[in-house]
Symmetry: C2
Subunit: 338 residues, 2 copies
DNA sequence: TTGCGACGTCGTAAATGGTGACCATGCCAA
DNA sequence: TTGGCATGGTCACCATTTACGACGTCGCAA
C-alpha cells in the first residue's frame, strides 16, 4: 500500500505537506504542491479512507435504510439518494429491513459503529431512532415521519392522494369500494385509509361498510392475496378495491387474475406503482408518487445536517401532483396465469 | 465517544482485554470477560469501525457497481447480494454507473480508497478492472464477464435464452421478427443477437433481413423508442420484435402503444422483466432471468475470495429455466397513453 | 543599516481508537 | 526445579490530520 510517506519521500517534502496538498486547507507553495501531485500520480497514491476517517472522525457514507429496495417505490427513492450523494462525493450503504424492527436496530447500530455521516430511513412506528440521534448521527425520515417527530422527515400528502385516487374509482363508474390497507405499524396506513374513507363519505353520503376494510398484518404479496380473497368472499363483495401499497396490490391482482375478475370487471387502485407502468386505463389505477423527489430532498436535508445545520426538526410534506395522477397496467379478462 | 479505554477502566482490565473480548480470538477469563461485557453495556460502547479497519486493514463492506439499480433486473440482484452480505455481517455500498466508464472508474477508485473488502460489478466492455485487481481487491463480475476473464464471473446463458424466447414468438404465430439489441459495449448484446439470429435461421431457413436488426447506442427508454420507430417505419416492418433488455423494451412498448400496434397486434419479447409482471400472454413475452441467483452466487464467490480463496478465475454460467420462461404484461389495443 | 514583527510555508510530533505480537506472571503437573 | 499453558498487560503500529513551532523573507520604522 502506498502511503503519504512514500509520496513525501519521492516529492522531497514532509508527509504533512502531502496531506495538506490533498486536504486543501492550509496553503502549500506552488512548486511543492506540483511535486507532490506528480509523485502521487506516479505512485498511483490513493489516500486511505480509514486512516482519514479515524483521524477526523468524519465519514462520507450515508446509510439508506428501507423496508425493501426491490419495492420499486423505494428503488427509485434510493437511486435518487445515491445520485444526490455521489454529486458531493458521498457513498450510500444499502440496508433492507423488511420492516422488521430488529433488523432496523441492527442497522442503526451498524450505522453508529461504522460510523456513517448520516442516515436516511423509512421507519415504522416501533422504530427506536434514539440510538442514532443520541449519538448525534443526523437522521432524515422518508415516506414516514419519525415516531415522535424527533428528526427531519420528507413525506407526501397521503390523505389527499388516497382521497383523489379513490374518487377516480368512483369516476370510473365503480360503486362499492373495498380497501386493503397497510399494516398498523406503518405510519402511512392510517391517512390513506382516512383519505379513502373521506372519499366514500363524499360519494355515498355514509360511512363505509366495515366489512369492506381489510388491514394487512405485514407488507407482502401473500398478505395481499389473503386479504383480497377475504374481501371477495364476503356476502356483498366490492366492485373495486383500493390497495394501500405496491406489494399488497400485486398480491390482490394475482387473486383477481385467478378469479377472472380482472379490471375493469373489478376496479383496482395500486397506491404507488412500478415505473414500468405505462398506460392509463380506468381499471387499474396506479398512482404516481413523488419517490424521486422524496429521495432527492431527503439527501439534501441530510447533507445540510451533516454540514452542521442545527435547526429544529423539519417536516416536509410534498404535494402529489394530480394532473398526471395515475398510470395503469391494463389487463384483459381471461389471460392465462403465469 | 466511548472507547475501549473507558470500558477497560470501568471493568478494571487493560484495553487489550476489552479488544479480545470483542475480537474473540484469544481467550479471556470468564470473570473478566463478564466484567468487560457489563461495562460495555453500561457505557453503550460500540467499537469504532474506522480504527479497527485501519489497524487490521480489513473491511466488511462490499461495493455493488451496476448500471442502474432502478432497472428491476439489477434491483433484484442487488437485493440478493445485500441479503447474502448481511447474513455474514457485511454491508453493501451501492454504485450506479449508467454504463458510463468514467463513473465506473470513479467508483473503482473509491473502492480502493475506502477501501472495501470486495467488488461486485456489472462491467461493460471498456471497463478497466485492473485498477482494483492490481490492488488485490477481489472482484466478481455479474451479468457480464470481465473484459479479459481476469476475475470471477456469474452470468447466464444469453444465447440459449434468446433462442428460446425468439422461438416463442414464432410459436405464437408471428412470422417477420425484428430485433432491438443492446449496445455494442455491453457483452450480453452479441449472444442475445446470435440467439435471435439462430432462431430466425431455424424457423425461416435463411439469414435475417439486416434491416430488421437495430443496435442501441445506449441503454435507455428513449433509445428503445427511437429504434422501435425506425423498425416500424421501414418498408417491410416486422410483425414482432425481440428487445434485448428492459429499458429498451419499455421504450419500444411506448411506441407500439402510441401507434396502436400493441401486442398481440405486434409481438414483443422483453428480455428480462419487472418482477411486477404477472401474467402470461402470447403478446408480450417477458423472460424470467435468474437475477436473484446471480446475486446470491456472486456474493458467495466474493466472500470466498475475501476469505482467501486463490483459485484461478472462475466463470459460472447459470441455466435459464425454460419451464417457466416467460411472464407477460398484457396490454389491450386502444387503451389511453399516460 | 539594523531591528523587529508579520506572514507564508513547512516539518516535527502528537494524537485518533483499536489490534496483536510479544512478554511477564502465576499456576500446575511432571 | 522446570516446562508448558492460560491469562492479561505493554507497546508498537496502522495512515492520516493538525497543533505548534521554526525558519526565512519582507517591509517598515528607528
Amino acid at each position: 500500500m502506498v502511503t503519504i510517506y512514500d509520496v513525501a519521500k519521492m516529492a522531497g517534502v514532509s508527509p504533512a505537506t502531502v496531506s495538506r496538498v490533498f486536504g486543501g486547507q492550509t496553503p502549500v507553495a506552488q512548486a511543492k504542491a506540483q511535486a507532490v501531485r506528480e509523485a502521487a500520480a506516479k505512485l498511483e497514491f490513493q489516500p486511505n479512507g480509514n486512516a482519514r476517517r479515524l483521524r477526523t472522525s468524519s465519514s462520507d457514507i450515508i446509510a439508506m435504510i428501507v423496508p425493501d429496495v426491490a419495492n420499486p417505490y423505494f428503488t427509485e427513492m434510493t437511486r435518487a439518494v445515491e445520485d444526490a450523494a455521489r454529486a458531493v462525493g458521498y457513498s450510500v450503504i444499502l440496508c433492507n429491513t423488511d420492516d422488521e424492527v430488529d433488523r432496523e436496530q441492527d442497522y442503526l447500530r451498524m450505522a453508529t459503529r461504522e460510523p456513517v455521516a448520516g442516515i436516511i430511513i423509512a421507519p415504522n412506528c416501533q422504530s427506536r431512532l434514539s440510538w442514532a440521534i443520541e449519538r448525534r448521527v443526523p437522521v432524515v425520515c422518508v415516506d414516514r415521519r419519525a415516531p415522535h417527530d424527533t428528526c427531519d422527515s420528507v413525506v407526501f400528502d397521503n390523505f389527499s392522494a388516497a382521497l383523489g385516487a379513490t374518487h377516480m374509482l368512483y369516476d370510473a363508474g365503480y360503486e362499492r369500494l373495498g380497501a386493503i390497507i397497510g399494516p398498523e405499524f406503518v405510519e402511512t396506513s392510517l391517512p390513506r385509509l382516512q383519505g379513502w374513507t373521506q372519499a366514500v363519505l363524499e360519494r355515498t353520503g355514509s360511512q363505509p361498510d366495515p366489512a369492506l376494510i381489510k388491514q394487512a398484518l405485514q407488507t407482502s404479496e401473500a398478505e395481499g392475496e389473503r386479504l383480497a380473497l377475504e374481501l371477495l368472499s364476503g356476502t356483498e363483495p366490492p366492485d373495486a378495491i383500493f390497495v394501500g401499497n405496491n406489494p399488497l396490490a400485486t398480491g390482490a391482482l394475482r387473486v383477481l387474475f385467478r378469479k377472472e375478475l380482472l379490471p375493469p370487471t373489478i376496479g383496482l387502485v395500486s397506491f404507488g406503482g412500478p415505473p414500468q407502468a405505462l398506460f392509463t386505463y380506468p381499471g387499474i389505477i396506479v398512482t404516481h408518487l413523488p419517490q424521486r423527489e422524496i429521495g432527492t430532498m431527503a439527501a439534501d436535508m441530510l447533507l445540510e445536517r451533516i454540514n452542521g445545520c442545527t435547526e429544529p426538526a423539519r417536516s416536509i410534506v410534498l404535494p402529489v401532483s394530480m394532473n398526471t395522477p395515475c398510470e395503469a397496467l391494463v389487463v384483459p379478462v381471461g389471460a392465462q396465469v403465469a
